[in-house]
Structures are given as structure tokens and as C-alpha cells.
Symmetry: C2
Subunit: 413 residues, 2 copies
Amino acid sequence: MFRKLLTLDEAKEAIRSRLNVEPLGVEEIPLLKAYDRVLAESVTATLDIPPFNRSTVDGYVVRAEDTYGADETTPVKLKVVGTVSVGKPSRIVVGRIEAAEIVTGAPIPEGADAAVMVEDTERKKNELKVFASVTKDENVMKKGADIKNGETIFKAGKVLKSREAGVLAAIGKSKAKVYTIPKVAVLSTGAEVSEPGYKLPPGKIYDINAYSLSIAVLENGGEPIYSGVVPDDRPRLRSALEQSLASADMVLTSGGVSVGPKDIVPETIASLGKPGLIFSGIAVKPGKPATVALIDRKPIFSFPGHPTSALLMFHLLARPVLRQMSGRPIAETQLVKAFIKTRIFSAKGRRTFVMVKLNRDVRNQLIAEPVETGASGAISTLAKADGFVEIPENQQFVDSDEEVTVTLFGSSL
Amino acid sequence: MFRKLLTLDEAKEAIRSRLNVEPLGVEEIPLLKAYDRVLAESVTATLDIPPFNRSTVDGYVVRAEDTYGADETTPVKLKVVGTVSVGKPSRIVVGRIEAAEIVTGAPIPEGADAAVMVEDTERKKNELKVFASVTKDENVMKKGADIKNGETIFKAGKVLKSREAGVLAAIGKSKAKVYTIPKVAVLSTGAEVSEPGYKLPPGKIYDINAYSLSIAVLENGGEPIYSGVVPDDRPRLRSALEQSLASADMVLTSGGVSVGPKDIVPETIASLGKPGLIFSGIAVKPGKPATVALIDRKPIFSFPGHPTSALLMFHLLARPVLRQMSGRPIAETQLVKAFIKTRIFSAKGRRTFVMVKLNRDVRNQLIAEPVETGASGAISTLAKADGFVEIPENQQFVDSDEEVTVTLFGSSL
């Protein structure tokens, strides 16, 4: 079949419009297990925080007006009528010219409207000298000052980290409703690949992609179902894909999608169900044979076998889908400006991605040095690269010393 | 007890020198479970990658010299002696004026030293016309070109992400030796705090810190052991701390370390064993009562009960220890420059931390707006802050519109 390949932007648009991805479902889990999970509902406070007026100091609660005029030389004298404990409701009532002992965090008792710091007092039995005046509400944290009953705390889509967990705990929640984690089956195809952990048969190489893609799934909020290496024959591939579709929400394959005689993956995928292939092939380099299908609402992504191509295509095509499926914001990738060390060329008419390593030169400028990730540097140099530079379809090359934008791998590729 | 408080730098130095933290141990786990774990050994390749010379194209393997002079108008003619399969060792030998069919990734057979792309050939039965010359090793990925047998791939301390998993798989590893995950007991003290998930008793507030600190432990490679709220009395606190020390590698407490009459935590910790307290109190704001102890080689950190103080002190004091314990690099915190919106003041003689929210002004400049995290904004505003600004001990204030460095929370606080 000969036809014009989709551009990368067309491919992304086809994925957006045809796949129409939504979060898969919702589950309620303990807040302590919800690290890095995504809130599936907006959360509203059902109580005031704090739930009562609290003292913010150790000292004495008073009626503020009773202290007016007090200073270091002319204290006012109050009668201590009791002690307010922390953590318990108080029965004490503070009347005129009265005070009650209090510690930080304890509820302000009836009648009192301010707290005096212990440093500003002197006590002899039940007689208290107050050497500073306080205003109404001074040293008092008012009921609802932090969070108001009925206030919306978080909207759905919030990713839960330590501070968010703290806020949810503050309003009494020990559980959270979060989006379920998408299950992603990851399998490799190709007669030449063999599973790591076993002796390498002659003529074979160890499979890389099922591992790197599985971990990339974890990095983006999915649960990988490692499905290992599937032999390059139609019935076995078909049965492996059917099994993956049955047990997972999304399927990633690598290998077997280029133009060689053994490239049976797109054909097999197309035959699995409706609507079938969304596209097969994109005008990019590397990654041209990338194939995307939708079978009964489950997306299948097939990437080339080259480890850099597979991870790059995952990043560009599958990662946004996976993140949307888990209700996760499509995290911004980190970009930095740098000067390219050597001239880099694009593949004619294809969006070209060049892996680069970042260094600083003597003038402390950031330099992007292209690394060989083609045939002769399949995996080792990918691990050394810090990110990639994109050359648009309509541009032949980027000259050395030109400024480029580097998309950093971070944990995102 | 009255004495000069340690500065933050002195406190950090005391932790470094007295705690003398090292990774706890090593375990071997499946590579697929090793996401975000830390390599505990350097890894050396025990084979060449690729393990044999491979074709990088679909086409024919030849002796390069046989193709010299060939071009579009004057092809050379070779005899096809067989087909090299991918994934199997080949018995084919390519002699002079001979060729063998090959696919990408298949081993280069004996006798051949280059591959011609199928596009540059024309075949009729066993007669092959080659319309382009190739040089020795053209379209061949040489044995060991990617990774050499004996090469050191990673050093101990490498954090495993998708690309690293791919490299380990490439050299046949399906397991990894990684540092064990430190267990961190997290408990809250204070008569006023009550566990989320249950009805709030009158006079109490929900516990925040055991949740926010547990998740902060997860964010930094530890396994939290949530130990909930411990009542503020000596025997129960002592027994909870003893239990925590028995089951965890490190203990975090919050609450009960300020100067109130109920502040029994430092005393109780000091009585647990040797060497005991490292320090109690630092010249910082907030977080002044922070206490650090070492009991039988296990560190105990006690933070104030205020949620912002507790998380900030975790970040400044405990996080580096936890990360070192897990063999993890003390990740650089992300810093950005911004202009402070309003004048901020320091507490006299104390390193002061001011929480800020970042916005862009009309000129697209980054503006840091201080947020109230004191008594009246304990938790809600912390969640809204993007980071903090530090004011040195010897500086009284930072004026509005001055440029400041903001340490971003990201996932690190």
C-alpha cells in the first residue's frame, strides 16, 4: 500500500478524535495509599477548620476590653477562674475581670475573646497581673479561619502529594476517591528477541522494549502487564494480542511493524476487531512505522523495535492517552534552550528527532551534543542522552551553534 | 534549660557528623519491580551488544569488494546462495561473487562483510543485480558496537527509570540489586489531635501531620509506617516510640515539642537510649522546636505540630537523611528567581522561611506572593503555596520588588 504518510500533528489529532479517551473508573482507597493518585471527585469541607476558636499561644484567655490600658508599668489585675485543657471542650466561662489559663490549641472558652501570652503575665495563686493589652481576637485562630465548612478544597484531577494528603486529613478524610489505574499490556515481537534472565540463544538479542516500555508505563501512572516476547507468527501473535486485550485497558507492542517480509503486526491488529487501524506509519524519524489501532474501545500502539524509536513513540503518542485514561494532566514536558554542537539534518519531509546530551561550555552556555542512537548506538547512548531536539518537516537542517529547544527526558520518556 | 540555639547550618552539620548515615542494605528484585529504585552495585556487561554482526537493512549480504564500481547503469551480478533468517545462527557462507538474502537484525553470515539495501537490487531467481556499491561494514552493526563485554554500564547509586531498565534488559538482566527501602515510623502526638476517618470529638482537630509526613516519606523513597496519634502522656508516648524504633529504621514525630507544659517529647526521646538527643531547637522560623536524636543508630526527628513547620523541617532535616539511607542522591531542589510582592520580615536571629505563591505579572515577570501559613492559615494556604523564600539570619527583611530565590515544592516537600 502506497499513500502519503500522516504528519505527526495529523497522527496526534487522529488519536485525539478517534480514541476519545476518558478516565476508566473510580475507586475509593485509603489516603495513605493514594500517593501520586488522581482525585476523581471534587472535595468539599464538611466542617470548619479549626472547628472552634483556638488559642495560638500558651497563656491566659481574657475579655480583651479588660486589658485595655495595661502596659509594663501599669498591669491590670484579673482573677484566674480555671484552666482550659487542650483537646477537650471547656465548661469554663470567663466573666468580667476574669481570666483562665490556656495552652496553644485549646478552645477559647465562653466569655473570652482574646489570649494574653504567658510572658506578658505574672500570677500569684488566683491573681493574675497582665502587663500588655490585647485586642479582640488577638492570639485567637477563629473557627473556619483555615477552611470553611462547604468550601471546595480540590477539584477532580488533582494529583495527591504530601501537602494534598495533609489537607484531606485536616477535613477528616482518611480515604480518597481516585481514578483507577489503567492496565497496560506490554509485549515484544520479533524472531530475533529473547527474554532477559535466560541464556541468550545464538543469533538472538535480548529484548529491551518490554522492559523499558513497562517502566515508562509506571512512570506515567499505569500498571504494566509484562507479556514478554511473542514469536513473529500470525496465530501466536493474534492469540497474545487477544489475551492482552482481554486483560488490559491498552496494549503496547514493539517490533514487527517495519516494512520487512515478517512485519505481520499491523495486519494482525487490523483483523482483531472494530474500528481497527487508526493509522499505520507517520512522517517522523525515527519511528516511521508506528501504528495505532482501536479495538472495541481499547487502544493498541505498535512501535518499531528500535529501543529509541519505541520509547520516543511511546512518549509522543501513547503517553498522552495513558495519562488521560488515568485522569492525569498531560504533564508539561520540561524544555530548555541550548546551542547545538554540530549541524543536525532532518529526514526529508519527516519530523526528525535528534537525541542530545547536554553540557556547559567554558562560557557556561548550555550545549546540546547529538548522540548516535541509530543502528550502531541503539541503547547505550539513549541512556546517556538528556533529551531530544525536534526538526520540523519543512526544515532541512539545524546549523551548528544555532539555538535549539531541548525536550528533557526527566522521568517522562 | 537556656542556651544558644543552633543555627540551621550547625544543625545540618550535627546531623551529618553524628548520624553518619549509610544505605541500610541490599536486595535483589525483579527488574520490572525496580522502578525508581537505586542500584546498589555497579553493573558490568557480560556480553557484547549486539552479540554478533547484524544487518541494519533488509536486502542482501555481500563481499563489499564485489560491488565496487556498481551504479544505476552498470550493476554487478551476484549469485544468491541462500537466505539468512533473523533470530537463528546461519550456516550460510558467502563466497566471491555471491550474495545471500537477509532481513534487518539477522546475523551477517561468514564471508560477507556488508549489506546492500533491497531497493538497490533486482533479483531474477538466483541472479542478483546490484545497482550500488557498498563499503566494508556498510549497513552492518558490528558486534559490541552498542555495549562492549566488560564495559561498566552503571555505577551504584543510579536511579532506575525506563531507559535504565532498557539498558539492563539489553545485557540480559531481569533482576537488579538495589538498596532496601528504609521503613519510617510516623506518629503524631498531642491531646488535641484526633485521627481522620472517625467522628471528631469536641475540642479536637483532625491530625494532619501523620498523613502529610507519611506521603512525604513515600515521595523520598521511604516506606512509611503510619502510627497514628499517640496521647500526650509519658508512658504511652514512650511505649509508642519504643515500638516504632523496633519496627522502623527511622522515626518521625510531630507535635509536643514546643515550650508548653505538655511538651514531653524531647525528654521522653532522650530517655530512650544512647547517644540520645543530638539537639533540641534551631534558630529558624518556623520550626524552632525541631528536635533530632539518635537511639542505637536509628534517627528520631521530632517536629512541631504546625503542619507547615512539620513539612518544612522534614524537608530541611529529615529528607536528606532518608535519601542517603536509601542510597538515593539528595535530589537538587528546583530553584527559580522571582520578585517578592510585599516586604517580608525575618524573625530576629533566626533563618526565616516564607511560603510564597508564584504568579506572572503583566510584564510576564515571575512574582512571589507571600502566603499566610501562620496561626490562621495552617494548612489551606500551604497547599496553595508553590515554594518558599529563605531570609538569612543576619538580614532583617527583604523589601518588596527585590529579587528572591524561591525553592519550589514540586514533589519534594
